[in-house]
Amino acid sequence: MPIQILQGTLDLMILRTLATMGPQHAYGIANRLQQVSEDTLNLNQGTIYPALVRIEQHGWTRGSWGTTENGREAKYYAITKAGLKALDEETERWRQMAGVVEKLLAEEQ
């Protein structure tokens, strides 16, 4: 069954993707997310746009136009220093959060 994206986690996933794969265009990012989730993520590719603009406005990514291997024009997003820092913080926060939830669920069982 496809799962919904948790509020606020999309930013983290995009930042992670960019940190791992280097500069990517929106399509590349969306593909990567679907690939990793093995298609369990219910993702209209368009839904990543608000997240993209949000993290760009925070100064976590910088966008620039480039050409794909197939010679198409596309806007590439590259993670910035601030983005890497934010990624660390967000990862840490997610881990804590996930840990708390996991712990809670484990105790309840």
Partner: protein, 882 residues
Amino acid sequence: MTHWRRIVAKLRNLLGNKRAEENLACEVASHLTLLADDFERGGMSPQEARLAARRALGGVEQVKQAHRDERSLLWIEQTIQDLRYGLRTLSRSPGFTITAVLTLALGIGACTATFSLVNAVLIRSLPYGDPNRLVYLYTPNPQFNLPAEVFGPAYSDLYDLKKESTSFQDMTAFDESVFSLATQGSAERASTARVDGDFFSTFQASPELGRAIGPSDNEVGREKVAVISHALWQSMFASSADILHRSLLLDGNAYQIIGVMPQGFEYPHYSDLPYGSAQYKTTQIWIPLALTPHQMDDRDNASGNAVARLKPGVSIAQAQAEMSTLMVRLDKLHDARVRGWGAQVENFVDGTVGHVRSLLWLLLGAVSIVLLIACGNAANLLLARAASRMRELGVRVALGAGRSRIIRQLLTESLIVGLVAGGVGICLAFLFLRVLPLLNPGNIPRLNEASLDTRVLLFTVAVSVLTSMLTGILPALAVSRIDLTDFLATSSSRSVAGAHTRVQSTLVVVESALVVVLLAGAGLFIRSYINVVSVDTGFSRSTVAMNIGLDARYSQPERVEFFRNLFARLAALSGVEKVGGISNLPLSNSEDLREFEVDGYPNKKGQLVESRLATTQYFSAMGIPLVAGRLFTQEDKSDQSVAIVNESFAKRYFANRNPIGGRVSREDDHTRWSAVVGVIGDVRDSALEKAPEPQIYELDGNFGGGYIAVRSTLPAESLAATIRSTLHSIDPNLAVGDIQTMADLESEASAQRRFQTSLLSLFAGIALFLALVGLHGLMAYSVSRRTREVGIRMALGAQRSDVVILVLRKAALLLGLGLAAGLVCTWVATRAIQSFLYGVSAHDPITIGAVCALLAGCGLIAALIPARRAASIDPMQALRTE
């Protein structure tokens, strides 16, 4: 909240944020292409691939909208944050906020008010189609040593020009006349323009009711029609709907009303024509000029005024060139004795407002200086406040606020102050405009139409925003340069404050310098005004005078009889001492020039002199003194055998001779002479500022119209009432004009000077006040910062007087620097106002001295208050603070 957010987002989209939109469109398109490429590679047809790509993306428009919402959210939210934070901090220090707002409001209000005048007089378009294509036509003649504007073209010349020229689209001739307009049971004087058939089409003005005067109305027998002004329609006909079935009685003739002009069209105005009639304010009635064929062919009968509209794309220079060429030919058709008629085409708008343009720009310049001073003050207040907020801002920086974020926050605060000040400023300007009619000198066209229209309000908003930025940028930059390590190390704001006071002191010095310039300007204006009003006019101020023009009901002998009767009845009144008549009263803006020669003087051809016709008692009625010889007597014959000249005439034409017994030639014939029997004192005739010109007076034994002058021991009002009732008893249908004392005329003649002097003085006063507030604020601030230092000094034995001197010395230094800089600026600036001055040099030492003394005195008083507070510091208390 969401709803509100979306409205703002929409607003933002409206304002265009085109680049982000284009960028987004490209990005989405590229995304779709990439998707489609992959689907195609997977084996779909191009069309299927495109559809699949759209499905995968999930709705192009939804994606874009989601992007937009997200995009503008951060911006809006930060702005809202800044605004709320700004409002909160401002309301927490009301003293600061109110002072800053009022300071800027004074500056912005003064600016708005002045700009509304500039807008009404110079910018707002005249209601005459495209006024920039209108021109005045003149045919100057170098034979006469007179300004070109005196010579309207002869009717025949004008109509030939109209036929032959190609530069003009329309051309019209018109005249100003004062008619007696019959009202219920009485009559009043109505300013009437007699216009030819093309007047209204030239001005591209159409009536709001009925029709305008056209060419057919100018045919003989059809000319008894009239167009009236909106004002007259309201006042005389109570805006009645059947106005087009009513008629007017002008000088006893009935004129059918055919049209009503809209409000705002009252051309010509008194101030429009350089040599317009003095009896004229605004035009209330237009009637056909109705020239006879004979008049239209007459090359010696000049039309009063000619206005033409240039064809689109034709420049004034081109029109001038064409008219000059045509006039060369037309000149040859003139009487051989007087030829040399040239051509002059002048810009209409310049003719209407040219004479006040420099004055209005000068006032706007002065008021900008006031605004700059207000900005300086507000900046100083903000700097002082920033220093005391150093801890708060330091903490924000330490918590990670970026430099640009802090600057933005501070600018938002100054923007709030600026906009509120703009609002208050508009209220101040509104009040000013209510008072303005009291100051209106009457010769600035459309001054009373000044209002706060959209353009003025936009100007105010722009000025407010600019002011906010000017005011806010300095403190914002200074504060954002906070060095975090410094801040944390000292744990107080002391270190950063030092740099600020330097900036603040500089601002106060600059303000004082600007004030010096304004004060000097105002001082010179005041001195000029005093010089003008204390000029010796040469006549008595208490004499009562009026213009009486008898209408067409009277024949020439009846006119003479009327005035004989009037003079006799007025002279018989108890309290009335002398009654005289004159063709041209001083300061009445009327002139009569004639050619003349002086016996035994090297006369030049075309030599002109101001010429007057006076009755025997005129000079004594006006209080004009006899310098030599005698006045006219009853025994003198009014056949031009005797003449009286003024002192200027005697000095110029009878230098080193006795004028009494000398001879001057008669107007029509240079071989016949009048004997000079007396010399009278000079009077100021055309303007208070203008030195008297030579004049010849001749006896008018058959006075039949013009000005009468009455000297009496009665108060002016009761004398005027008596004259009015006397006139009414002689002829109840006579329209009686204004009855004024010569002092009233003097006051009118100095009205523009009074206007400019009071405005400039007001601005200089505001500037001085603001600068003193600024100085006081800085001194108070520095005293409060140095409390501890003062405490230590006093603990170590400093006297209270030492402390006062310490503070005053600093104030004196700032003022001294300001004065010095200001005097340098003044030296340059006052030269620009040279043309506005009368009887005082642009570098008048008395004015400069007074300005220095005033600024120094007021400045030291402003500094004394904080100085005394410093001196009253209790050392024990002071040492315990901080």
